[in-house]
Each structure stands twice: as C-alpha cells, then as structure tokens.
C-alpha cells in the first residue's frame, strides 16, 4: 500500500464523516465548522493531483471567504438560525431513497467505465502556463470568461448590498 493511498484514504474518511455530520447536525455552527473540514479535505485532494494553485484558491476563497460569511450570518441571526423542527419520516425516507439510488447508479457507472489513462502528471501545472491560459486571447485561452467573472463579482457585490440594506 503506497503512501498516496494511505493519505487519500484518510482524506476521504475525514471528508465523508464531516459531510455526514454537517448534514445531520441540527446546530448550524457545528455544521459550518464541519463543512470547513470538507473544504480543507478537497484542497488536500487538489494538492494530491498536483494542482497546487487550485488548492490554494480553494483554501483562500472557500475557507477564508465563504465559511467566514456563513459563520457571520449564523452569529448574526443567533437563536433564529437553530433548526429545531423534527424532519418528518416521509421526507427523511424520500431523502434516503433519492440519495441511495443516485449514489448506487453513479458508483455503478464509475466502476464499469474504463479510463484511458490512470496516472497524474507529477509535475503539475506550471504557474506560467496557467497564467497564459487565463489571460491569452487565442484558442483554449480564457480571457473572456475571466472578464465576465469580474463583472459577475461586481454585480453580486452591488446586488448583495442592495438586498441586505435597510429600507
């Protein structure tokens, strides 16, 4: 058993257990903290794929931005954010059946598919190559989506302020 497999198993265990408890917990603060573990585990997966920049972005944006926003709203709402109601049995069963069916079909399909390659490039992606792809104007370059993203972020900032401000 290689060291990679051991690390992957630990990450997978951490992520699945954290995700399950985050979904099952009725305390939202606890759920948010567990979500943070899932996001860190995902960053670990990106590092295992040698996608270091993606892992760094995952940690800064998700853990540093989104989770902080979530914790902010949980603390701001206080008692109002506690999920006190019991889930009805019917809804619970519907959730279990849907999730199990979907998971079974997906895992079956993944297991019956042959992948052409089963290796990862150990050098990863050079930062220069990534920067050229993000900023280039040729084929397989992404300057237009990049600029659209900046407009989207501006629009969402303005929209969030507009929605959340007092009348």
């Amino acid at each position: 058993m290689s060291i990679n497999l051991v690390i992957f198993s630990l990450l997978a265990l951490l992520m699945i257990v954290s995700a399950l408890f985050a979904v099952a917990s009725s305390k939202i603060m606890r759920a948010t903290t567990l979500l943070l573990f899932v996001l860190f585990g995902t960053a670990g997966l990106y590092f295992m794929l040698h996608y270091t920049f993606l892992g760094a972005v995952q940690i800064t944006v998700y853990a540093g931005g989104i989770v902080v926003l979530l914790i902010f709203v949980v603390l701001l709402l206080g008692k109002g954010s506690v999920d006190v109601t019991q889930t009805s049995m019917r809804r619970y069963l519907a959730g279990v059946v849907t999730a199990m069916t979907g998971m079974a079909v997906t895992i079956y399909l993944i297991n019956t598919t042959q992948f052409a390659q089963n290796t990862v490039d150990p050098d990863g992606v050079a930062m220069r190559e990534l920067g050229m792809a993000l900023m280039g104007t040729e084929k397989y370059n992404y300057i237009l989506p990049f600029e659209v993203m900046s407009v989207l972020l501006l629009a969402c900032t303005v929209g969030a302020i507009l929605i959340a401000r007092k009348k």
């Binding site: 990679n4 497999l5 992957f8 997978a12 992520m15 699945i16 995700a19 985050a22 979904v23 759920a31 979500l35 996001l39 995902t42 997966l45 295992m48 794929l49 040698h50 996608y51 993606l54 972005v57 995952q58 944006v61 998700y62 931005g65 989104i66 926003l69 709203v73 949980v74 701001l76 109002g80 954010s81 999920d83 109601t85 889930t87 809804r91 619970y92 959730g95 999730a99 199990m100 979907g102 997906t106 895992i107 297991n111 390659q117 089963n118 290796t119 990862v120 992606v125 792809a133 993000l134 397989y140 992404y142 989506p145 989207l152 969402c156 900032t157 969030a160 302020i161 929605i163 959340a164």
Partner: protein
Amino acid sequence: MTIPAQYMLILSAVLFFVGVFGFFTRRNLVSLLICTELMLNAVDINFAVFNAYCHPEHLEGYIFSLFGIGIAAAETAVAIAIIINVYRNFHSIHIKRLTNLKH
C-alpha cells in the same frame, strides 16, 4: 504509484449525494446553503479529476474549477444577503414560513 481515478470520482459522488440528502431533510435556509456548498464542491472535484486523469495536456477542467469556486463565492454572498433580509421580514429562516409566493 497514483490512486485510480475511480476512487476520486466515487468520493465526489458520495459527497454530492450527502448534499442531496441534506437538501431533502434540512428545513433551514443556512443549512440548505451548506448543502449547496457540498454539492458544488463535489462537482469542482469532478472537473479537476477528469482534467488531471483524462486530459492532462489541457487546462479546461482546472480553469472550470477555478471559475466554479468564484461563482460559489458570488452565490453565497447573494444568498446570505437574501437570508438576512428574510430574517428581518419574517423573524425566522425556517422555510415553512416562506410561503408568500406560493399562495
């Protein structure tokens, strides 16, 4: 030795359906937002894994994951603004109370 691509894909499938399960059972706007984040995160893993294993010479999946993370941030900011506004108007973020558009 690297890990097979199937393991990574199965992990992301499990995470995605944990998020789906939470979406069915939780009745609270912040919890639903957390479940959405779980699902979005699983999809981002899929993009990165397919890029790394199937087309390592291109960068489509990598950049799609980057944009996916950015969009998740934008979505969360707007959703939290909406949640704060809902709390201000209804004094609760339980989705049973949000029926004004339904009737």
